[in-house]
């Protein structure tokens, strides 16, 4: 925050900040500008008007998933304000050739853009998302970044106040032989405790502490987090889960589901 003079001689505080940010979405505004939403650690999900955002020079900077240095200022805190962005690293450029990783990046940005409240600090989520961006940037034919992605979605649910309890069985309290997750409570259930409800339970992937299930871990993991994202995070606001997330799940099912 800085102090600036106004003409009548009194001083007012004009809000402004500078921070490292991740571009989440860009919408054209008028003929030459764009409204850009970014994620920062301290300002959280924050939108601003980028003048000249539709220009060919800026279009590359405003791609979702880019790491940027953002400066925002407005006359009053409640205003949209103007944003200036400087490209730090273009993550999408590293993934354009890889359909699955590109779908993953789009899904991350769409989930953050669609679920986070505006202007609330998200230091942990920002650090986690940056780490996931690093992970997704690494070329890996076995797609191990998907494990990180699923853990990140659990973190997103946690940040929104919907933590899943995957460490102990909700029925017996046991911490081993966990196999399912209750679609209602989000708690783990041990292998023998599900009884007649076993077919209605969500599978707990091995990398999250589950015993081996009959689906691939990535497919099962995305079904698990997708269920709670749709029901708790987006369903609570009568919204559908973003199309980008659905596409990622479809692609993973296509690769690992059969």
């Amino acid at each position: 925050m800085t102090r600036r003079a106004i003409r009548c001689g009194t001083w007012i505080t004009m809000p402004e900040w500078q921070a490292d940010a991740l571009v989440l979405s860009t919408r054209p505004h008028g003929e030459g500008s764009a409204v850009v939403t970014v994620l920062t650690a301290e300002a959280g999900r924050h939108a601003g008007l980028v003048r000249g955002g539709s220009s060919s020079r800026m279009r590359g900077v405003l791609q979702p998933g880019n790491r940027v240095r953002a400066s925002w200022r407005a006359r009053l805190p409640e205003q949209l304000g103007q944003m200036q962005l400087e490209l730090v690293q273009s993550i999408p450029a590293l993934l354009l050739d890889d359909a699955l990783r590109l779908a993953g990046l789009s899904s991350i940005c769409a989930l953050l853009d669609g679920s986070l409240p505006e202007r609330e600090a998200q230091p942990e989520l920002f650090v986690g998302t940056n780490a996931l961006f690093d992970l997704i940037s690494i070329e890996d034919s076995s797609n191990r970044w998907l494990e990180g992605y699923i853990r990140w979605e659990l973190g997103l649910l946690d940040a929104a106040g919907f933590q899943l309890d995957l460490l102990r069985c909700a029925a017996s309290g046991a911490t081993d032989r966990l196999a399912y997750v209750s679609p209602r409570s989000g708690s783990a259930v041990a292998e023998g405790q599900a009884g007649e409800f076993a077919s209605r339970m969500l599978a707990l992937p091995a990398f999250l502490g589950g015993v081996a299930c009959n689906r691939h871990d990535y497919d099962a993991g995305l079904s698990l987090t997708g269920h709670f994202l749709a029901r708790r995070l987006f369903g609570a606001h009568n919204q559908d889960i973003p199309a980008q997330r659905r596409r990622l799940a479809d692609m993973v099912t296509g690769i690992y589901g059969g």
Binding site: E31, Q89, A99, A103
Partner: protein, 197 residues
């Protein structure tokens, strides 16, 4: 100011590149050159508006149901170049380096703009690609997240067909100096590097 002139200025101000001020100047210029420019322009605009339509095959704009590119027998009918819009088609035609056919998608997949596969002419493209003559589909889409997501989606859709799917190279433009290139373009250029000679 007369209402008719004001309406004209308002409508002209909606044209990309023209704001209210420049629309006023343009309208005034037209009015001052009525016989030489305004009347012939109005006639031509009316003529184009009534005669031009989207080609039933590729989506290009032309006077016939099927555009001149699609009916040109000298063009290579085994290659389709997929572009986002007619502007991209015109750009490739201007370069005069491609002698195949085109397919205009009508945009890219974009969740923010609410454009899914059903809003684009992808089904028609798959149908055209299934033609026995077809050998290659060139995806000339933007090097953006939306553009390349669309390219991957099309690749999935035509995966079972006996055609080669290629895309335009991404990298250093002609006359470009490495010092002025952004990191993303440099990364793409390095990834797509080729053997010299």
């Amino acid at each position: 100011m007369d209402n008719a002139v004001e309406d004209l200025i308002k409508k002209m101000a909606r044209i990309p590149g023209l704001g209210p001020r420049s629309a006023r100047r343009a309208a005034l210029f037209l009015l001052q050159n009525r016989e030489r420019l305004m009347v012939p322009l109005a006639r031509e605009m009316n003529d184009v508006a009534t005669r031009i339509r989207a080609c039933a095959d590729c989506g290009n704009l032309d006077t016939g149901d099927v555009c001149k590119i699609c009916i040109d027998t000298r063009r290579d009918r085994s290659i389709i170049c997929v572009v986002e819009d007619v502007g991209s088609l015109w750009a490739i035609e201007r370069a005069a380096v491609f002698r195949g056919l085109y397919h205009v998608l009508g945009g890219t997949l974009s969740a923010i703009d609410g454009r899914g596969p059903n809003e684009l002419h992808i089904d028609r493209l798959v149908k055209r690609t299934g033609h026995p003559e077809m050998a290659e589909v060139i995806l000339a889409l933007s090097a953006t997240v939306d553009g390349q997501t669309t390219a991957h989606y099309i690749q999935e859709r035509v995966a079972g067909l006996p055609v080669e799917v290629t895309r335009l190279a991404h990298g250093v433009p002609v006359g470009g100096e490495l010092d002025y290139l952004d990191d993303g373009t440099l990364a793409q250029a390095l990834k797509a590097r080729g053997k010299l000679g």
